[in-house]
């Protein structure tokens, strides 16, 4: 959608219905197109071929799925992975290169926005000495699960936001478990938890996650817990720790780590601007607040 190609989507992933419900509000056509069952793990190739996509954008994990699609004669654009935050616009550019000139122009617009926001943040955080930077532990799915340096640019983003990632030198795949002892040893100033509520990834809702941490004596030994510096990352049309919305996460995190340097940064305003500019969806104040608080769209509550 950010590349102006929403009307070209002929199938979508089943997890978009449950993992990031805002996508079904902002991307109006998503609720009307066929859904690929078991999208991420074992997609039905025949079902995919029936909808005749010109090209399929797909994860590189598990690797054999892409090969199965290619063997069936389907063109696949692997999701571009990167470990440097600055490569986010280039990731979008790869998708734009697949779609054509109009998408490439939209990608260039995004790159300009990204650079402006990045420079705004770095101008305020870049000169903070290492010893004055707070330590940050970034969890995915659940408190004791994180991501290694090979498959994520999270540590890079934390550095740009003016922090020090305790997992900067950690090796491992996306979402692997760590021990409580390891976390106690890091004893971070801040804990950020992304992917909360993603039930099919083994994640519990945000309030339940926080309640369980608060009731655990081991977690209560951590500085971040004692100082009430545990934050749940928002999720809009997708998780914020990857993809085009990650620039919002950078701003959000920078304001958490250094509120004195970002007093003028209004995240509600930033989220509204982003959704209007790139998704052509005008969020209300309440909708922007719900995204920032990891709440689902109001119209889906109770359904």
């Amino acid at each position: 959608m950010i590349l102006g190609a929403e009307d070209k989507i002929v199938m979508t992933a089943d997890n978009s219905l449950t993992l990031w419900p805002w996508s079904n509000v902002v991307y109006r056509n998503l609720t009307h197109i066929p859904v690929l069952i078991q999208n991420a793990q074992n997609p039905n190739i025949e079902q995919l071929m029936q909808n005749k996509p010109d090209v399929v954008f797909f994860w590189t994990i598990p690797p054999d799925v892409i090969q199965k699609m290619r063997d069936a004669g389907i063109a696949v654009a692997p999701v571009a992975m990167h470990t440097k935050f600055n490569d986010t616009p280039r990731e979008l550019q790869v998708y734009a290169d697949v779609l054509g000139p109009y998408a490439q122009a939209k990608s260039a617009e995004y790159a300009q926005y990204f650079d402006e926001k990045l420079q705004m943040v770095v101008a305020r955080t870049g000169s903070i000495p290492q010893e004055q930077r707070p330590t940050v532990y970034f969890a995915v799915r659940k408190p004791l699960s994180t991501t290694g340096k090979e498959e994520s640019d999270i540590s890079d983003m934390i550095s740009l936001a003016g922090g020090r990632s305790v997992t900067a030198d950690l090796s491992g795949p996306w979402g692997f478990d760590i021990s409580m002892e390891q976390l106690l040893q890091w004893n971070p100033n801040y804990i950020i938890i992304d992917h909360c509520g993603a039930s099919n990834l083994g994640s519990k809702p945000a309030d339940q996650t926080l309640a369980e941490m608060a009731n655990d004596t081991r977690f209560n030994q951590l500085k971040a817990m004692k100082n009430q510096q545990v934050y749940i990352s928002p999720t809009g049309v997708f998780f914020w720790d990857a993809g085009s919305q990650q620039i919002l996460q950078l701003m959000w995190l920078a304001k958490i780590l250094h509120p004195d340097k970002f007093e003028d940064l209004d995240m509600q305003k930033e989220v509204k601007e982003f959704y209007s500019k790139f998704y052509h969806y005008n969020l209300t104040d309440d909708e922007a607040d719900r995204i920032l608080k990891l709440l689902p769209p109001a119209q889906t509550v109770g359904k």
Binding site: A5, N51, D54, V55, A75, A77, A80, L99, G100, P101
Partner: protein, 75 residues
């Protein structure tokens, strides 16, 4: 009279060259081919390469399949 004939022949030649040039531009597999677009005919099966962030190259169709527009209307 000869001058008029020569002028006419030059004019026809220029026009022919112009038509050939236009045809060449529209037929080339250049940047104006967009997946999902239907601006001009491109042979089915024509592909192009895209370079991913890690430097690997993957192949995508130059253009959509001919029945794509009708399919999209159904959706």
């Amino acid at each position: 009279m000869d001058l008029k004939k020569t002028g006419l022949i030059v004019l026809v030649l220029v026009l022919l060259l112009g038509i050939i040039a236009l045809f060449a531009v529209n037929s080339s597999p250049g940047n104006n081919d967009q997946i999902g677009s239907n601006t001009h005919a491109t042979p089915v099966g024509l592909t192009r390469n895209v370079t991913n962030l890690d430097g690997t190259i993957f192949t995508v169709p130059q253009k959509h399949y001919p029945d794509r527009m009708s399919q999209r209307t159904l959706l």
